[in-house]
């Protein structure tokens, strides 16, 4: 086998692609050839490293040195200094050096030390376009082991014992969902991977699919084996071109290697996958709307029950699981439910992938054990609030999640703790806002999104969201009174209790949590004052609000 003394891992995730990682890679390869190093140094495209803010980025091993915010001309220096002469280019380095100029490996930096990578174990370390890289990292061992020595029932039992809960937002126990699908009567059962990630500020599923697509293939095959399905569909948001490309490629490679198709690994189990691209509606992330969309209908949620586990795709029992949920499965099968339970909290075992956005130094992708506090995430991993400003608000779980204030920085981040504070773990988006922002202005922004994305099928959501949006506009303009706040409250409760799907049910969550946790600031607006000086008040505002 070929021996390379150095590996250059270039993040090729879509966040870095926007910033120009392709030209960086090209420059790197050209320079390596110009210096005659092509036999010694390997350049690899990898998935997201997590520090999206510092892209385009590359890591040079064996030293584990990360260079960030690169331009093609920076790369010339890295090749001629670091790769040729072994001298680090301190100007471009993104990690601190010791007193003698020594580098601590990337894994020892504060950003990575607090993290626990299960789902992202291969992200940024392997080439997602090569099945060989995945296998070398231990991939498909879980599938082979399960087919060899485990019954479908024992796979379900293992997942149930691990306490894995759905990572799409609702937190439903995965083992139980599989069990229901397994026992439901039907000719043909289906596994669907929900990768229609549309929650603003959430991009974890995209980066998982881009960084380690074979992990999802393996997770889905295990799900198929467990519930007795022979077909699976990966429903990917249409805008996620790179995810679609890499997933299709992974499926092809798995088929060529006998890991999908008829009689996988000489067993009696047959399973195959296909990719279905969404057409750009937020509501299709809701599982029944997603199923409608696959069937070629308009993406509108169905009445429940019956749930998809009984009557899903084409009326057959269907298990719809989030990307991150499925990405946990191979590790659980390989290392056992007990190991998984050793991570996280008793009611929410395991890890959670978060996407950090907003006013935070290290915006990007992280994976931490459940139960970590918001403070640790923001100040230790995230590097704090930039420009010396103060923390004001964190919205957990995306736009349909609740707003938490500084007083909540120490609550553990897991399904139940967040729920008891009027928020949710949701999709794993973490929007951090500093004290220059106004809570009324922000919640109005959130509502605008739901006005746009409501599918219009049920009245509470179709009419409620615009009404809420306008009421918040009134408050923002300084024209609101206590009666409006009462109306906002009533309207919110109506939407929560009578909307058809989670879109309408959760749209008022940011508003209600803001009323609960930021009341003094909202009250100031009723008195015609915006403490953050963001809202335009008075006559000029009247025009904007209308």
């Amino acid at each position: 086998m070929k021996y390379y003394r150095a590996h250059v891992l270039i993040c090729s995730g879509s966040n870095c692609a926007i910033k120009g990682c392709r030209s960086v890679k090209q420059a790197c390869e050209q320079e390596i050839i110009r210096h005659g190093l092509q036999g010694e140094v390997q350049v690899v495209d990898t998935g997201c490293l997590g520090l999206c803010d510092q892209g385009p980025a590359l890591v040079v091993y064996p030293e584990g040195v990360m260079y960030g915010r690169l331009t093609p001309s920076d790369v010339l220096e890295i090749v001629s200094e670091h790769l040729l002469k072994g001298r680090l280019v301190h100007r471009l380095m993104q990690q601190p050096t010791g007193p003698a100029g020594e580098v601590s490996p990337l894994s020892m930096t504060p950003f990575f030390q607090k993290q626990k990578r299960v789902v992202l174990k291969n992200c940024g370390l392997i080439d997602p376009e090569r099945i060989e890289d995945y296998v070398r990292a231990g991939g498909y061992t879980a599938l082979a082991t399960a087919l060899d020595v485990m019954t479908p029932e024992s796979v379900i039992a293992e997942i149930t014992q691990s306490g894995l809960r759905g990572r799409g937002g609702a937190g439903f126990p995965t083992g139980r969902k599989w069990e229901y699908t397994r026992v439901a009567a039907g000719q043909q059962k289906y596994v669907i991977c929900n990768a229609d990630e549309g929650e603003p500020g959430t991009f974890k599923d995209r980066l998982i699919l881009e960084g380690d697509p074979h992990l999802i293939v393996e997770g889905m095959a295990l799900a198929g084996y467990a519930i007795g399905a022979t077909r699976g569909i990966v429903y990917i948001r249409g805008e996620y071109e790179l995810s679609i490309h890499r997933m299709e490629q992974a499926i092809r490679q798995a088929r060529e290697n006998g890991l999908l198709g008829e009689g996988i690994l000489s067993s009696a189990f047959s399973f195959d996958l296909e990719v279905c691209a969404g057409a750009g509606a937020y509501v299709c992330g809701e599982e029944t709307a997603l199923i409608e969309s696959i069937e070629g209908n308009r993406g509108e949620p169905r009445f429940k029950p019956p749930y998809p586990v009984e009557k899903g795709l084409w009326g057959q029992p269907t298990s719809v699981n989030n990307v991150e949920t499925l990405a946990n499965v191979p590790s659980i099968i390989e290392q056992g439910a007990l190991w998984y339970r050793s991570l996280g909290t008793p009611s929410s075992p395991g890890t959670k992938v978060f996407t950090l956005t907003g006013n935070i130094v290290n915006s990007g992708l992280i994976e931490v054990p459940m139960g970590i506090t918001l403070r640790e995430v923001i100040y230790e991993i995230g590097g704090g609030i930039p420009e010396g400003k103060q923390f004001k608000m964190a919205q957990t779980g995306g736009t349909s999640g609740g707003c938490l204030a500084a007083a909540h920085l120490d609550i553990p981040m897991d399904y139940d703790s967040l729920q008891s504070h009027g928020s949710s773990l949701g999709s794993g988006a973490l929007l951090i806002m500093d004290d220059t922002h106004c809570i009324v202005d922000l919640t109005r922004c959130f509502l605008k999104f739901f006005v746009h994305e409501s599918c219009g099928q049920c009245t509470p959501c179709r009419e409620g969201a615009p009404a809420l949006y306008h009421l918040l506009g009134k408050v923002s303009a300084g024209a609101g009174g206590h009666a409006d706040i009462q109306l906002i409250n009533r309207l919110s409760r109506t939407m929560q209790s009578s909307s058809l799907c989670a879109l309408g049910q959760t749209a008022p969550v940011p508003v209600l949590s803001a009323l609960q946790h930021f009341w003094p600031e909202i009250e100031a607006h009723l008195n015609g004052r915006c403490p953050a000086n963001k809202c335009v008040m008075g006559k000029a505002a009247g025009k904007i609000a209308n």
Partner: protein, 113 residues
Amino acid sequence: MKSLQELKAMRERMGESKGIRTSASPTKITVAMGTCGIAAGARSVLLAIMGELAETGLRDTAVTQTGCLGICEREPLVEVVHQGHTTLYAYVNAERARQIVRDLLSTAEKEEK
């Protein structure tokens, strides 16, 4: 692929470079590549080390470079760190470089027993 055994065989075949990507290799060979080292032939030493590593299949070994160590008259210099012990070799040429790797391999084999 037909079975778990084949999967394992495939993984074996594809070998070891993963260790390099975690900067956790227990053995590290450093070639001094200052201008003094390069002038004395450090480049061919480096290539010889890599060639021998590929041939012998010695695992968990990282090869890096460094600048001038300050003993220019004894270049090319090669430093080997293995199990916490540091050895500095002077006046290394391609042949001696290959010998260094073979010695490491036999040490590693003894340790395994």
